[in-house]
């Protein structure tokens, strides 16, 4: 379970400071899916980064399975990002000069796992791109790249999958396919899915959603969500 309690994030100091999040609170059940909606600058990416252990909130707390995330030691936060969280980025962030296999094994490499290939092939199989394993990622299409990105996110079997505009750079047909994959993972593996998007059509497919404006929750919906 994710419990967010009055988190705020202020960038800068003095009159030039900017409040990206303003006392945001909500609870999300384990295995649920959540869409974070809002316009540019509404604070949705900041919220996701705070939940993912990437950006420390200025105040408030985030508890993951009852344990406060940001009061942990840095090495525990690193371990959380590596073992409990998975990331899907809009811009993929793949190493273009490396193969699909090398790219997706990075989380396990960081974890210190020696026998990584069986898990890597299993992840590629799930994403239906096993035949691309030896290809350099620069030779892949946008949709394939995003699937590689998802494979990298799930290879370590994370509890929570964070996706920041996962279909933002894809055409509608490919977007649909990627969305299917994400929901399938959420359903089949019980992975909690947190997606940041400004695409309302995509948001409608989620069981839970929150809408942010100027760093505040202005609307929320869903049975597994309590704001």
């Amino acid at each position: 379970m994710i419990k967010v309690d009055k988190i705020s994030k202020i960038y800068g100091q003095g009159p030039a400071s900017f409040k990206a999040l303003d006392k945001v609170s909500f609870k999300l059940e384990k295995g649920a899916n959540l869409a974070i909606l809002g316009k540019s600058g509404s604070g949705k990416s900041t919220l996701m980064h705070a939940l993912a252990g990437l950006d420390r909130p200025t105040s408030g707390s985030i508890a993951i399975n009852g344990k406060d995330l940001w009061s942990r030691q840095q090495k525990e936060i690193d371990a959380y990002r590596n073992q409990m969280a998975g990331f899907v980025f809009q811009d993929f962030y793949l190493q273009n000069e490396e193969t699909v296999l090398e790219n997706i094994m990075v989380p396990l490499e960081i974890r210190g796992v020696a026998d990584r290939k069986p898990k890597a092939y299993a992840a590629l199989e799930r994403l239906e791109i096993k035949d691309k394993a030896r290809n350099l990622t620069r030779h892949l299409s946008g949709g394939e790249k995003q699937r590689v990105c998802v494979a990298r996110a799930i290879i370590g079997q994370p509890e929570i999958l964070f996706a920041d505009e996962p279909t933002g750079n894809l055409d509608s047909k490919t977007s649909e396919k990627v969305e299917e994959i994400l929901f399938k993972l959420n359903k089949e593996l019980g992975t909690t899915l947190v997606v940041v998007t400004h695409n309302e059509d995509l948001a409608r497919r989620f069981a839970n959603s929150i809408i942010l404006k100027d760093g505040r929750i202005i609307a929320h919906e869903g049975k597994e969500l309590a704001a």
């Binding site: 690193d78 073992q83 490499e109 960081i110």
Partner: protein
């Protein structure tokens, strides 16, 4: 992340920037090459010096007497008794030494630890004649017996370990000139002719004990290398007496040789000689060896210093390469951090890459140095042996290799610290957003 994965990732990253990595590695390899070659040359020189000096006796001291006014400048005033002093100009400075009397020299024999003492019998001989042969040959230099075993230098016969007044050892050039096989000369009688104190020819007979090989190495640079004969000290004394007894400078010697019981006694004997007269100047083979080694070491360190400067410049190359790498890979660093790679491992990754560049540079430099060593030693081998230098002009030791590799590894690590820390400090979100 396991260390092996860190190493693999480092290697992959270096391969990705091949041109830049190769250029930095080449810069480092030039320094490593120069450094290893410098050590190799120095080793060969030291080995050659040691080889050649190992045959020389190391338990002899040479004692001279400095004049009181040894630092005098200008031309000294003539003095009828000045025959007792010898004034020479060395490198623009006048150094005057005092002749020693036989009595002064004999006093050294009483010092504990001294086996034998003899003065410098500066005798000259006119000719050498093989008994029964009409031809006479010039003698360039009459050398006194050596107390060190010269057996390894013998071409034929044996080096006399217990010299008698009858023994003589000739240089190879006499055998060559006479056209007789060296072994056939052994046991033959030769006549040495010299001028006595009245200027008349006197002759002395000797039996050939052995023939010495043509001198090589440092000895070949000596004043006389062809017409040289070696006789016992007692024979030298006898001829000296015939040549100088009655002359003004008779029994006045420029230096004396002190033979020690053991090289261990050198310090105590030196002290005892100094106690007799503070103007005695004592020198030994160890002084020469130590002077040669000091010069060699100084040259080695100077050359190593130049190589060090090259390496220092190359170290800035590493800093530059790694800094560029950090800038270029900002997004990758952000991703690794986002995926949970600890800051320490990020720093280690860049340090590993820097050390790898250093080790590659060291390896290339060392391989080239070995190549040059093999080439030079093979091509010039015979020439080196002929001049008595030894069989190697370059001798690279495993210690040199380890030292250079470890040094370069360390230097690269230090050079990589700043870029590695820069990478470590990057904020993951900002790094991912970097354009």
């Amino acid at each position: 992340m396991r260390n092996i994965d860190l190493l693999r990732r480092g290697l992959r990253n270096l391969r990705r920037n091949k041109s830049r990595t190769i250029l930095t590695v080449l810069a480092l390899s030039i320094g490593a090459f120069t450094l290893v070659l410098t050590f190799g040359l120095s080793n060969a020189l030291k080995a050659s010096v040691n080889d050649q000096l190992s045959l020389a006796t190391n338990n002899e001291l040479s004692v001279g007497l400095n004049a009181e006014n040894k630092n005098q400048t200008g031309v000294p005033e003539y003095n009828t008794n000045a025959a007792a002093a010898q004034s020479t100009q060395i490198h623009g400075e006048r150094a005057t030494i005092q002749f020693m009397t036989k009595e002064q020299i004999d006093a050294f024999a009483k010092i504990s630890g001294v086996k034998q003492v003899w003065p410098s019998y500066n005798i000259s001989a006119e000719y050498l004649q093989l008994d029964g042969n009409d031809k006479k040959y010039i003698i360039d230099y009459v050398s006194e017996q050596s107390y060190s075993d010269q057996t390894s230098k013998m071409l034929a016969g044996a080096y006399p370990l217990n010299w008698s007044t009858n023994d003589i050892v000739l240089y190879q050039s006499y055998a060559d000139t006479l056209g007789i096989a060296p072994s056939d000369l052994i046991g033959k009688t030769v006549i040495i002719g010299f001028l006595d104190v009245k200027g008349k020819i006197a002759e002395q007979k000797f039996t050939i004990s052995g023939i010495l090989k043509k001198p090589t190495g440092f000895e070949s640079a000596g004043p006389a290398t062809t017409g040289v004969v070696m006789i016992s000290i007692d024979s030298m004394a006898k001829i000296y007496d015939l040549q100088f007894n009655g002359a003004r400078d008779f029994n006045q010697f420029s230096y004396a040789t002190v033979l020690l019981d053991s090289p261990d006694n050198e310090t105590s004997v030196r002290d005892a000689i100094a106690a007799l007269n503070k103007n005695y100047s004592v020198s030994s083979l160890s002084d020469i060896v130590s002077r040669i080694k000091t010069v060699l070491n100084t040259v080695t360190y100077a050359l190593a210093g130049f190589s060090g400067i090259v390496l220092l410049a190359a170290a800035f190359g590493i800093i530059n390469t790694q800094l560029m790498s950090v800038f270029e890979r900002t997004k990758e660093i952000g991703l690794l951090k986002a995926l949970g790679m600890p800051n320490k491992k990020i720093r280690n990754l860049f340090s590993v890459e820097a050390v790898l560049i250093g080790l590659f540079g060291a390896s290339v430099g060392i391989i080239f140095a070995f190549g040059v060593e093999i080439f030079v030693n093979t091509v010039f081998r015979q020439r080196l042996i002929n001049i008595g230098f030894g069989s190697h002009a370059i001798l690279i030791s495993p210690t040199n290799v380890l030292l250079v590799a470890a040094g370069l590894g360390l230097l690269s690590f230090i050079a990589g610290v700043f870029p590695a820390r820069k990478a470590q400090r990057l904020d993951p979100i900002q790094a991912l957003r970097e354009e």
